[in-house]
């Protein structure tokens, strides 16, 4: 981890590019936290503008219409309430009212959230509460509801429940940071009394990391795939030499280490992260433990791609990346061999390659601390992503058996649906706007609260597209947000599509439905715009190829009266 001094230096040169605006509000002094966040964002190459609202300014800033906060037009607002300050408030209360303390803090927090929500569509980054054991009743405090210990834990738990029920609030888990460092390393009493700062200078980089990780996820930087080595990474020993029954896995000895590592990977997979294997092995030998060793937690079907051969790993990782059609910078490569790590790092600078500790017993703890898998949404259906990619491989096989692309597409029996955004889908639509980088015309990121606003805005035409075929359901694959700029014109604010369904006629289907809906809404002109990013070059000419005329640089237009849709083999679902 960087030192605070390094962050302070880096803070002077922010990363170039369009910056997200983050406002920091606290009940304590947040000036150095703001410096640390600025510095870390710069070092992580994340363009971020940070406003520090100053000591104990939360209420003034969130309640006043013309406050500095709202003038700053924040994309996110960080709310940081130091437990040490809350403790002082707690002690001011009469002993009888202390048992309502957690609930009263929550009421205050939700009042802040509401006030911010009335003024901006900013994401709210809510810090969890660090621990403070005042031991008024010793260990016994845990079972007495009028103690601070009891109320503080209740507060954290209830906060989780409230956040879960509320779109647009993102946790910054300072409690986890404090648990990792320990209270001694996190809190410096002298600093608190001299400067009202509740985070020790040496701990600030860790607190800043929690904030920057959330900001990175909100700006679409998400890790989607872990590529794993096998021998001495997923199990102990070398399967080619030791045999599938003799590798170290299971509850005995070092096997326990690898079992727990696999359990965690399985959890990642269930949370929507793709797992892939990249191993120097004969394919059959590499697969054998998964098939025949009952102690293995991971099974072959847990992997979206399985590559075992004697090619170099960089080439294999490129193959995996092409198969999954995701960005290199959304992948993490885990290998116990320093030589392989260095090779991959030097050949593919964008991929993350953690410098694993030598002792496998430390792998899991080490990787968990890196917090690679920060996300800004959870839909619960993420686990199906692995199945989606497996179905994709089945399609690829089928494709090779048809002479023409049309015949193949016809054989897929595709059914598409298009619906205005619905509450049950807000979270998935927001997630897609945050994750899509390649097929994304203007790369506008939306939070769940934004999506709700768009859905309810009478001047917006929203469409979410789903696609299924004989191999399975792709789920949500496309999003359109159109905004009426005048009575006759609809501007396409957002058009994005999942790259999994590229070249299947979905582009044509999306535009055909859009033009149809626009026409029915009495709109004559549909205007599209392409905003280039380092990643979306693939859609530079998409509007032209859809039959739009070019208006000027990167702006296009089509006439709903005359528009002739392109060819596609997708039937529109009846139920839509």
């Amino acid at each position: 981890m960087y030192t605070f001094k390094e962050l302070r230096r880096a803070a002077k040169t922010p990363a170039p590019g369009k910056a997200r605006a983050l406002a920091i509000l606290g009940n304590c002094s947040t000036q150095f936290l703001a410096v640390a966040v600025r510095g870390l964002a710069a070092l992580e190459n994340l363009p971020l503008a940070v406003l520090d609202a100053g000591y104990d300014q939360i209420e003034a800033q969130v309640l006043e219409d013309g406050s500095e906060l709202y003038a700053f037009a924040p994309d996110s607002v960080l709310l940081y309430l130091a437990t040490e300050r809350l403790y002082e408030d707690f002690l001011e209360l009469t002993p009888e009212s202390r048992r309502d303390f957690a609930d009263s803090v929550l009421v205050r927090l939700e009042m802040y959230w509401d006030a911010i929500g009335r003024h901006t569509s900013a994401a709210i980054l809510q810090c969890t509460f660090t621990e403070l054991a005042d031991r008024a009743l010793g260990n016994f405090s845990c079972r007495v509801d009028s103690t601070f210990t009891y109320q503080l834990r209740r507060l954290n738990f209830r906060l989780q429940e409230r956040m879960a029920a509320r779109a647009g609030v993102y946790p910054v888990d300072l409690l986890a940071v404090q648990a990792e460092l320990g209270r001694e390393r996190f809190f410096d009493p002298a600093l608190y009394y001299s400067a009202k700062m509740a985070v020790r200078l040496d701990a600030l980089p860790y607190a800043a990391k929690a904030v920057v990780d959330v900001e990175a996820a909100l700006s679409g930087r998400i890790k989607k795939c872990v590529v794993l080595d096998l021998d001495n990474t997923l199990w102990g020993g070398v399967v080619g030499d030791d045999g599938p029954e003799n590798i170290e896995i299971g509850h005995l000895g070092r096997g326990h280490v690898f079992t727990n590592f696999q359990r965690w990977l399985k959890e990642l997979k269930e949370c929507g992260v793709l797992l892939a294997v990249c191993s120097k092995n004969d394919e059959a030998a590499a697969k054998r433990p998964f098939e025949s060793n009952p102690e293995m937690v991971l099974r072959l079907e847990d992997f979206a791609v399985f590559v075992a051969n004697w090619e170099d790993k960089a080439a294999n990782i490129r193959l995996i990346q092409r198969t999954l059609n995701i960005g290199m910078d959304s992948m993490v490569f885990v290998d116990d061999n320093p030589f392989e790590r260095e090779l991959v790092r030097s050949m593919i600078p964008e991929i993350r390659v953690p410098e694993l500790p030598e002792d496998p017993a430390l792998y899991l703890d080490f990787l968990q601390k890196q917090n690679y898998f920060e996300t800004a949404a959870y839909t619960g259906s993420g686990a199906d992503r692995t199945k989606l990619y497996q179905a994709e491989q089945a399609r690829e096989k089928l494709k090779s058996s048809y002479a023409t692309l049309d015949e193949y597409l016809e054989s897929l029996e595709m059914v598409g649906s298009a619906r205005p955004f619905e509450p049950s889908g807000y979270s998935r639509v927001a997630q897609l706007t945050q994750r899509s980088n390649q097929f994304n015309l203007r790369t506008v990121r939306y939070t769940e609260a934004d999506i709700r606003r768009l859905a309810e805005d009478p001047d917006c035409l929203t469409l979410s597209y789903e696609l299924r075929d004989r191999f399975g359901d792709h789920g949500l694959v496309g999003v359109i947000v159109g905004r009426k700029t005048d009575a006759d014109t609809l501007f396409i604010d957002t058009w994005l599509m999942s790259c999994r369904v590229l070249k299947r006629g979905m582009e044509e289907f999306i535009i055909a439905v859009l033009m149809d809906r626009a026409k029915r809404a009495g709109i004559r002109w549909v205007v599209g715009e392409y905003i280039p990013t380092p990643k979306n070059g693939m859609v530079r000419d998409i509007y032209k190829s859809m039959g739009f005329e070019e208006l000027g640089e990167n702006r296009f237009r089509a006439d709903t009266e005359r528009f002739r849709p392109g060819k596609f083999h997708i039937k529109e679902s009846e139920e839509a």
Binding site: K5, Q31, F32, A190, L191, S194, A195, M197, L201
Partner: protein
Amino acid sequence: MSREEIMAKINEIARDVFDNDTVTLTDKTTAADVDEWDSLTHLLFTNEIEDAFGVTFTLAEVTKSENVGQLVDALMRHLGA
């Protein structure tokens, strides 16, 4: 470590923390004499001194030292010099 050596090291830290190569601290220097020396850079300054010398100042030493000389006195007490 002599007082002169400590003073030299503290000057080095000060130039870094205050980001100003022309800063020269003497026993009589106060925060008012250095533009970049405010309440927060003061904390950074004392924190860097603590790290460099492996000591921990008391709250009173951090907040009540009136000039650099008093801070160096406190530091030397911690160092047992």
